[in-house]
Amino acid sequence: MKLFEYQAKELFQEAGITVPESVLVKAGSSIDQATDKIGFPCVLKSQVMQGGRGKAGLIQFVKTQSEAKEKFDYLTGRGVQTILVEQAIDIAREIYIAITIDPVDCSTLIMASSEGGMDIEELAATMPEKIIREKVAAFRELEIFQTRDVMFKLGLTGNAFKQGVKLLLTMFKLFRCYDAELVEINPLVVTGDGNLIAADGKFIIDDNAGFRQQSYSLSRDQFDSDIEFEAAKEGIPYLQFDGDIGLMCAGAGLTNAIYDLVNYFGGRVANYLEFGGPNYRRAVEAMEFTLRNKPKVILIVTFGTIARADVMAQGIVDAVKKLNPEIPIVTAIRGTGEEEADKILKTIGFENLSDTEDAVKKAVALAKGGK
């Protein structure tokens, strides 16, 4: 679960990390109260998941009430649901600081750079020597000497140094407590009077740790499309693309490989949908979602062990009967119970293929109007 900037900043603030003063405004309401409280100049920050918000015009710096209203209307007009109205800060320096994991040596990895504001990927590509790395082994805690080391290397002094030590310890605590995959502050601003303020915040919580973490409700702004949002609410992994072959596959690895094969044989995928794992008995919902992006053909490929082929085949039969899709469906449902699956599919006139490439080629041909 990737949090919105404002949610990340809420966690920061609760934990004692200074963030700019701000008010959250929903599309459809008025920005006046917010700007009255924050004053001018201030910044309107679209709460969307998309990266590069600045370049995309999703962050607007405003100096007057009328400008604020105008930009607010502009942003909500672009579909933004939530806007963070934030005081402008007096920036002396910008720092990058983040915590993530290193899966090879099992450590928690702190990355920092005095070149804040830049994307870490960009930084890693262009100035790798500017990235300060500090590691904390599994079972160990971040020690104060390590935080001092980072702050000395960042060139902080005085108050900013002391605040930096505390801030990093706090970030680390949040990272561990919240089962985070990433906690990032970029930029961490050193103000003109030598204080640290978290001007932005990224926070990704491990979905697998949901059972021991506070839950955030899913919101439309976390997704690129309505269908993805709705599928996520149903617990069905779904991604929307602009092709015409709808995929219903089981197994993440196999689905990826089918996606590749469709491209390999010249086709284009309309959607990626995982019809395996806990969802293998949910053929009807899966097919409903697959049909929503208007594919020309549905390609169903599985090779399951727990997800039984016969159960999935029966599900497809039921879905076809219920939904009456007016497009061709190609199946290669293999694995446990595959002979039974062949028979079941035959009852509605489907020939269950055994070779994956044959199935993909057939789907590509059908999408191109062949048969």
Partner: protein
Amino acid sequence: MSIFIEKDTRVLIQGITGSEGSFWTKHILGIGTNVVAGVTPGKKGQKVEGISVYNTVREAVAETQPDASVLFVPPKFAKDAVFEALDAGIRKVVVIAEGIPVHDALQMRKAAMNEKAMVVGGNTSGVITPGVAMMGIFPYWIDRVYKQGNIGIMTRSGSLTNEVTAMVIKAGFGVSSLMGVGGDSVPCTRFAEFLPLYEKDTATQAVVMIGELGGTMEEEVAEAMEAGIFTKPLVAFIGGRTAPVGKKMGHAGAIVSGGQGTVAGKIEALEKAGALVADRPSATGELLKEILKK
């Protein structure tokens, strides 16, 4: 011969009385695995498919001396179960559970490293030596996939493994040891860590690696080959060649960020190190023939 589980490997099943545990116990026994005990806290005295159940791994170890343990426990208890196995002196563990928190996985891998143990998984089908024994959930009864032979297979995937392995068998080969590294972003054992075992395994003539986008495991394999740690022929299939950057497609581990973990980068590194890389599953068998002719 196998790199992990032999005919006589004494296997413990943790979580044996659960629905998954008891279902797969039948099949694990079915292939011929030497299962010596099961554990479910509070179920001591019960039997599952004739296997005695104990309350704790320590008890099971004291009574039946297992060498290895396969875990059918929910993801939220996987860490505890791994620690329990390690604590009791077991040095080979397979974790099937999908959905283990990343922070737990870090600790599991670290604990395994500290104890010089091999923990395989999570989010894996497990480990199988076709025709001999398995610790995992493989449909070993599907002949066109699970046939004994001389090819080691290591994989991040489940269904795709069936797909690719079927191609290996179709080309006339069989499998020595199949190791499911698991689809998570923090697998407890990484591809490159299996290589020294395959290298010295006389039953393994070549290795097929089923990788995918994301992470650096395939690059580490290339490094091991360059370093001469692994010198046998290796054929790879890497899924996700055309996957859109930044989208989490499928496995937790399958995400590309910051230019790291791209399929193109993996292929380049592997080919430079002397591996052959299949552009689609069906090519795997042909490439194996080609590389073994050299």
